[in-house]
């Protein structure tokens, strides 16, 4: 693992604080030093990406290199924000992984149709979550070449 890669930021959009805690714990458990920040719904995620409102101070920060997105959220749900991001000229290249409890066939088909990069069910045990975070970050940060994000 090279030093430079630790800078890549992960973003998680999920209204459940427990899951937010579990994911940051899992990052720690996997000894990953990638910074992570959180938003609670799709609307906040859009504000975050656009550096608007309460996120305007982040204007100089680079955009995240990976987004973990829950589907069922209040205000604006994962499906809606996913379609908005994937239609955005700049944001569409950011890999998005849907991380949800839903295993409805319709959701899987629809989100891939909208251009999601992966669809993963929230693992049941913590160990599996750690494994998942490790492999996902390894894949997207080490294995894959992505276009440069401003």
């Amino acid at each position: 693992m090279s030093e430079g890669l630790t800078q890549i930021r992960i973003h998680m959009c999920d209204d459940d604080p427990d899951d937010q805690l579990l994911v940051s714990d899992a990052l720690e458990e996997a000894r990953l030093r990638n910074p992570i920040d959180f938003t609670n719904n799709g609307k906040e995620l859009l504000q975050y990406l656009n550096r608007e409102g309460k996120f305007s101070h982040l204007v100089d920060q680079p955009l995240p290199g990976l987004i973990l997105l829950d589907l069922n959220m209040p205000v604006m749900d994962g499906r809606e924000v996913l379609s908005k991001i994937k239609q955005h000229k700049e944001f569409r290249s950011i890999p998005i992984i849907v991380l949800t409890t839903s295993k409805a066939e319709a959701d899987i088909a629809r989100t891939y149709d909208m251009g999601v990069n992966s669809f993963i069910m929230k693992p049941v045990s913590f160990d599996r979550l750690v494994e998942m975070i490790s492999s996902v970050t390894d894949y997207w940060f080490n294995l894959v070449s992505l276009p440069r994000v401003k």
Binding site: D18, L22, T101, L129
Partner: protein, 554 residues
Amino acid sequence: MLKHFYIEEEHRLPSFIVIGVVIICILPFIFQLFGGDFGNATHVHDIPHHPITSPMTTDDMFYHLSGGFTHALLEWTAFSAAIFVVLLAFCHYSITNDITTPVIGVALFCAGAMDAFHTLAATRLISAVAENKDLIPFTWALSRVFNAVIMIAGVGLFLSGRKTNQKNGFKFIIITSLVFALMGYLLIHFAATSSNLPQTQFPDSIIRRPYDIVPLILFLFAGLVIYPLFAKRHPSIFATALLLSALPEVAVELHMAFGSQRLFDSDFNIAHFLKIIAYVIPLVGLVLDYIQTYKTQIKHHEQLKLAHDTLNAKAFELDRTNTKLTQSNAELEKFAYIASHDLQEPLRKIQAFGDRLHKRVSVIDDEKAIDYIARMQSSSTRMRSLIDDLLKFSRVGSDEYILKNTDLNKVLKNVIGDLQVSINETSAQIHMDQLPIIAGESNKLYQLFLNLLTNGLKFSKDGQAPIINIKCQQVVKDKIKYWKIEVQDNGIGFEQEYAEKIFEVFQRLHGRSQYQGTGIGLAICKKIVEMHNGIISVESELDNGACFILLFEA
């Protein structure tokens, strides 16, 4: 005797008609007692006394013929009534298919036609050889006898007890009509062409017209014996009216036989008038029969409509209940699905944070704490499998079943193929009959037999290889053909008293440490069989294997 004349209420004539007829029959007689006279003053014998030289005025001519006119009018009215009777009788036949009315109608018409011939001869509209003073009384007596005989014959036809079937009914009517008509014509023809008619009037004796004694007796016989029997055998308002018509007929003959001394006298005219009444009564009977038939039909129609409406209302109610039931069932299944789905979420957290806690506690070396957490973890794992099974169960009930022809041999082949590992592990033997093709959902039938065979492999006796026999035969239950499929094992079995209970959700007969599973398998089996409109049951004995019996409509 009175019983002989008893008429069922529905076939009675209205009492005012009966009373009216009785009064009409008696009234002229009473009038005569008090000096009344219905006769025509001028009779034919007066005509020659007028001087031939003084030409008669037209009015005089008519005055002289008043008796003949009265006679003709009365006779023709009676004949017209007879025409209406026969027409109505055929209408009646076309509605009710009752052949008695037209046959009797024809008999009455023939009698009327006879009267018509008699009148035409008397008015000289058809040539006749004999003198009117002989011709009129003789043909009258002839037509009266004919009238009585033909009515007795017509009605008598239906007293033999032999039921004429409807197909031959019309033929029978035609033949009878022709016979009657021919008889009538021949008699009149004989009377009109014969110059030597016997004397019929004896003004000085008690019985002034002995020839009329014959129809008198015949009508008494008809009124007392034939008509009542007929009304009993073929009860109708028409039959009752026929019976009543015997009264004026007899009155006619009484006036003629004992009253009338000459043509066109009071008794003569009364007799002719009463004859009209005798013809009109059956006509009234037929009309009333019509009204009754119509009313009955309306009543039937209304009853039918009422029954129909009631049935419709019930069907509607049933439909509504059905819809409600389907709705509540669907809601219940949806509820089970959502509830179990939402239960998974907090459970996942309990497990995840339990894992975290377990890791942290294991560092501080507190055995009890570690054991407690392990128990919590195992409980939450178990709860997860329960919820998963509940979800599976609710899906089995809520999925749409499209029943297609499914070959159970293929289904079983797949099941056995997928169980091959555990079959090999347990050295199990599975024997299978040739199975039928049934209307079913192949995925669900796969699950059904997978669960049943898994059970058979799982609940085997220690140290004994499982043997599973799958048998099939066709049976009939409640008049419906079924395929009866038995899945029999040689396992541990259970007491028969649990036979119902084991199909309930999460019902287990054994400890979890002994046999794994939540107890959903057989509940799912039952649900699948029921969704195929089938029946599942089980027969078992402790330590003696179990036999699951499936019935699918053949």
